[in-house]
Symmetry: C2
Subunit: 379 residues, 2 copies
């Protein structure tokens, strides 16, 4: 979960914030109603108030939103902001919003369920001629060479090798796991041309993101992985790109190649990319052919091979799984049914502990279980 410092660093990103601040100045009219989804510590909320909004609804399940009333007081913005410490799914508003503003991206805009969040919010909470900010993101890909990144990934199995242990399955798992580059990739690391491969229109229905591109070398080198970034259209001509070489709060996203490949002039790199709505499941297929048409490398990779699992766990994650409550689930079911507005959390934990089939857990553990349940499912 984001900390106040994380939010602060997002707000300190001048490129990102200039686009958002100017979009708010342009879209928010005196008297507008604004909804800030994923408001965090509320910098966009404050800017919307300053732009003249009659009322700004700031929604976020992160408790950081409780700083916003204090910031409003510091800035003389009292009385125009309403805090909703929840998800936008649970939110109903007494009035439609003229402007919805949000930034729910991670290193890639497929982070979390924010396509669904903005579809739902546009349908239920935005006025018919209202403005949704941002408008769209376009995803790009290129092939990179970066020894530091390759070394970082190789260190994942080095501990096993140093103890004389075979670790091919560790290596395979790591090289099938997408990860943020943490600022490691430079513009000069790009070995090939780049190309857009998918587009996200916010608020609209869309299929899983996928695309096929063919890239040409810009120089010789060793390919270590695919770099993914996005170009954001915030509002009209306002936007930014997170391509390698930019220094923004966003990292690049990396899809490692399962083995390094020498890239030569005349080669062609064909990529097939696919990712689900939640950004959880990635698949990337790489085919590299020489000028003469010989296949130098072909690899099908997927985050499915990156996350260890068992047949049992796979089954449990599928929609056709028929679950029974685990012992923890039985306790959760009982604790939820004891939540009647009269028993305290401590009393529920004590009653749970007294039930004959509750295992002999430390009292603090049961209390923490009930506290977690109440935080997640209580009001």
């Amino acid at each position: 979960m984001y900390s106040v410092l994380n939010y602060g660093h997002m707000a300190a990103d001048g490129v990102r914030m200039d686009a958002y601040a100017r979009a708010i100045e342009r879209a928010v009219k005196p008297g507008s109603v604004v909804l800030d989804i994923g408001a965090g510590t509320g910098i966009l909320t404050l800017l919307a108030v300053r732009a003249g909004a009659r009322r700004v609804h700031a929604v976020d399940p992160n408790p950081a939103v409780w700083l916003i009333p204090e910031l409003a007081r510091e800035n003389g913005f009292e009385g125009r902001i309403e805090i909703h410490h929840t998800t936008s799914y649970e939110l109903t508003l007494p009035e439609k919003a003229d402007v919805i503003v949000s930034d729910l991206r991670g290193s890639v805009p497929t982070h979390g369920d924010h396509f669904a969040v903005l579809r739902d919010a546009k349908a239920r909470l935005l006025a018919p001629n209202g403005t949704l900010i941002p408008e769209r993101d376009e995803l790009f890909v290129s092939v990179f060479e970066n020894e530091e990144m390759a070394g970082w990934l190789a260190r994942g199995s080095a501990g096993f090798e140093r103890r004389g242990l075979a670790s091919e399955s560790i290596r395979r798992s790591i090289l099938n796991t997408p990860l943020a580059d943490g600022g490691r990739l430079r513009a000069s690391d790009l070995l090939t041309t780049s190309a857009p491969w998918a587009k996200i229109e916010y608020g609209a229905e869309h299929a899983p993101l996928e695309g096929e591109v063919v890239l040409a070398p810009r120089r010789r080198g060793t390919a270590h992985g695919l770099a993914i970034w996005f170009a954001a259209t915030i509002l009209g001509d306002l936007g930014f790109t997170t391509e390698p070489g930019t220094s923004m709060v966003y990292s690049r996203f990396v899809l490692p190649l399962v083995e390094p490949v020498e890239i030569d002039h005349g080669d062609r790199v064909r990529l097939l990319l696919r990712v689900d709505d939640q950004g959880q499941r990635w698949a990337w297929e790489t085919t590299i052919t020489t000028e003469g048409g010989d296949v130098k490398m072909r690899a099908r990779q997927s985050s499915f091979f990156g996350m260890p699992t068992s047949p049992e766990a796979l089954l449990r994650g599928s929609s056709s799984f028929t679950p029974l409550p685990s012992p923890l689930g039985e306790r959760a079911k009982r604790a939820l049914s004891m939540m009647n507005g009269e028993r305290s959390i401590a009393e529920i934990a004590t009653e749970l502990a007294a039930l004959p089939d509750t295992p002999d857990l430390p009292a603090a553990t049961l209390l923490e279980e009930v506290r977690d349940l109440a935080a997640r499912y209580g009001r």
Copy 2:
């Protein structure tokens, strides 16, 4: 949640791993039964098998444990490892363990509930004369000067300031939030002597960690915060320290000072530190006096002031809160009661959607809610 790469980098830390590997060689006898709590990708499990264990139980709620059977095959260790994809609280064993090995630390050993985990495991799962690894950790503190760290924290409110917005509450929140140093602190950053202030004996009962120390300047400089680290006793004379200047997988823990203070020869720094069992709530009180006895600075800081909250949210987090289920909680309660081993996750989501008082949520959202519930509370 840790990824396979995270676990790999833990295993690649030679200092940490030398201590653990030698402790396992010393404690595990041919025929031993070993329990590896928080096994991750299982390097300690594999080392215990190689040391002659008859059986190793590897327990972890992280799905990374499903790599261990593959690693066992790669290394010819089949048939001697049992995987328990759960928490140790839910674990019962057919036999007591002769050796329990674990490393559940984050940047500080107060991360998560691992004191309680090891108390419970020692009481229920360890043979009477069994060996618990690690034995103890001792916590240290010193005062540091580091402009980069101070700048990193100051950037948290820079975005607000750049837009002409007051942000004192952001600043106060950030400077009351403990954080990992991410490798920023060097040995030369330490302005004062250091001192131990608390000790953790694993497997034993203990009170909340607290201590008072008085530190003397080693040089002049500007104090930016307190650096916390630990010295681990893994087994007997085997151990390591994570003090600034060491390059381990562990970061230092930083408690920022609410304002920078010039430290001079002859000053005295008195620190009162306290942290709860879960490492969630930190309090630190700093008093700096001159050689003449004048108080230069006194500050009481606490992570309570770092986490924004509201009176309502505070109440909800207390043991005396009497919760009612939220709309999400009502759905969770119903979904849990529908889990009878006959309905699939998809069927439960469809039945939920059809209930008259379920809000009009996207089908994918309800499916995800039920999937989450089944992952957390199903079997």
